[in-house]
Symmetry: C2
Subunit: 279 residues, 2 copies
């Protein structure tokens, strides 16, 4: 019998990326009765897409998202075209995995640029370019707003409102194929979070990522916390997601120098316990 | 003759806090023809308020702000009352210095709390409590929205829109004594920045702080950049400030382990050169 908490859980493999390759992560999820998995493409390519798809299917795992597409900004048209091509390949991979969405991390400022509005325009254009392919592949695009501390170098889409504005811009008629990924780490501080989760609604809420914000946070990249160790009101945000109609899995994604040193079976066990206790 | 750039400049003494005490910073500003200064209260108390006020007056410096009041959030009423008392003392000091404003850093989550909405309500209440004293002292309160990466431990007011909502809440009739400090480091990423600077308007734009956002940023606290070394479109933001009617000084505030190791006379010289070239 699958425990209730694990039945709602998905493992983003970034959480165990230093300890496990993708095959091991798939088996780990199966062993711990974790219902879903979200692979990263580097590990996916190492394992091979077909082999990964087969292993994931064999264990009955839901692929809550493929990480990641995006990175649409570039210093010139050639760089941006290369990004488009890579996103189209990512969509094929996501289709092969029957992923619930392709996670899009927008991209930051092109090297040498200080034009954040221009970068944002590039992101809108890039998403508009790949949206038809996403619809054809039946893999919706999930724009993940990243914390403003990543605006310069990773993603210039930094609030849920901004991500939803992009959705509205590229899908004005609500035909679908586009939505958002809500990662508590990136959006917990946003005073408009409840309003914008409601604005997104069930159709555009494609993924829900869990971790925690530690105090103090000692590293901008790899000091995310295990649920319960930080200050994020996880049950409150979950209640907003559910009130808006989200009924998908809860994906744990923890970039953490600390947890990358821990036995990955213990990491998964802890994720399950913390999910039950704190989410 | 005062150079044009220096005539628009103010030195926030955090920029040289490891090298100079307040008396030295005041003399440094005078020596470099920098028109303004923004002292921190720890250095002010060490020098003595009267002595500092006298030295600042003797050199004809404008005090662009006193750093800082705020920190309104607390685990209980007693802690919050202590904060109110400290803010009232800060207003007296700011009055003695003829400061253009008292900078308010809101305060983060009380220890053990995950209730960011509750913390924000405490900030609103605290500001409402001290506003009459600020009006009486003729020292306007400048709410400084801090970057969302400080939401947990320093300031739960994280966007200009939020700060302006607090202004509207505590000053619904526009009687004044309350406004905002725009620090480019905290707000440059905000997609609504231009709109909200215009919304603030001249009456509520009380201070303008300059530095730069480095890529990569290696420390959440003390890795701010010298103007021109990062990615912030400083002239663009300045143009929005001026279009909204701001005509005050430009205050350089750089928390930087790197610049704290540099000869402070060279720091001030560099601030002047970079202000001319990049702002």
């Amino acid at each position: 019998m699958v425990a209730p908490a694990a039945a709602r859980l998905s493992l983003n493999t970034a959480t165990t990326r230093k300890q496990w390759n993708l095959a091991q992560a798939i088996e780990g999820c199966a062993r711990h009765d974790i219902a879903g998995i979200a692979p990263w493409r580097d590990q996916l390519h190492t394992m091979g897409v077909d082999r990964a798809a087969q292993a994931i299917r064999a264990h009955g795992l839901t692929v809550t998202g493929l990480c990641r597409g995006g990175m649409f900004t570039g210093v010139d048209l050639a760089a941006r075209q290369t990004a488009i091509q890579d996103n189209l390949r990512a969509l094929e991979e996501a289709h092969a995995l029957q992923a619930r969405c392709l996670i899009l991390v927008a991209g930051g400022l092109p090297t040498g640029s200080k034009d954040v509005a221009g970068a944002r325009a590039q992101v809108r254009e890039g998403i508009a370019r790949i949206l038809p392919a996403a619809r054809q592949a039946r893999v919706p695009l999930a724009i993940e707003p990243l914390h403003p501390m990543y605006a310069a170098d990773r993603a210039c889409i930094n609030t849920l409102a901004q991500a939803l504005d992009v959705c509205d811009a590229v899908d004005p008629l609500g035909e679908g194929g586009i939505g958002v990924a809500v990662d508590v780490y990136h959006v917990w501080w946003d005073p408009n979070l409840q309003r914008d989760i409601a604005r997104a609604g069930a159709r555009r809420l494609l993924a829900f990522h869990l971790c925690d914000w530690l105090v103090p946070t000692t590293d901008l990249l790899n000091d995310r916390g295990m649920m319960g160790d930080g200050v994020i009101a996880l049950p409150l945000i979950r209640s907003w997601m559910e009130a808006a109609g989200y009924d998908g899995l809860h994906e744990v994604e923890i970039f953490s120098n600390r947890w990358w040193k821990v036995d990955p079976d213990l990491v998964l066990q802890t994720c399950k316990e913390r999910h039950t206790a704190y989410c």
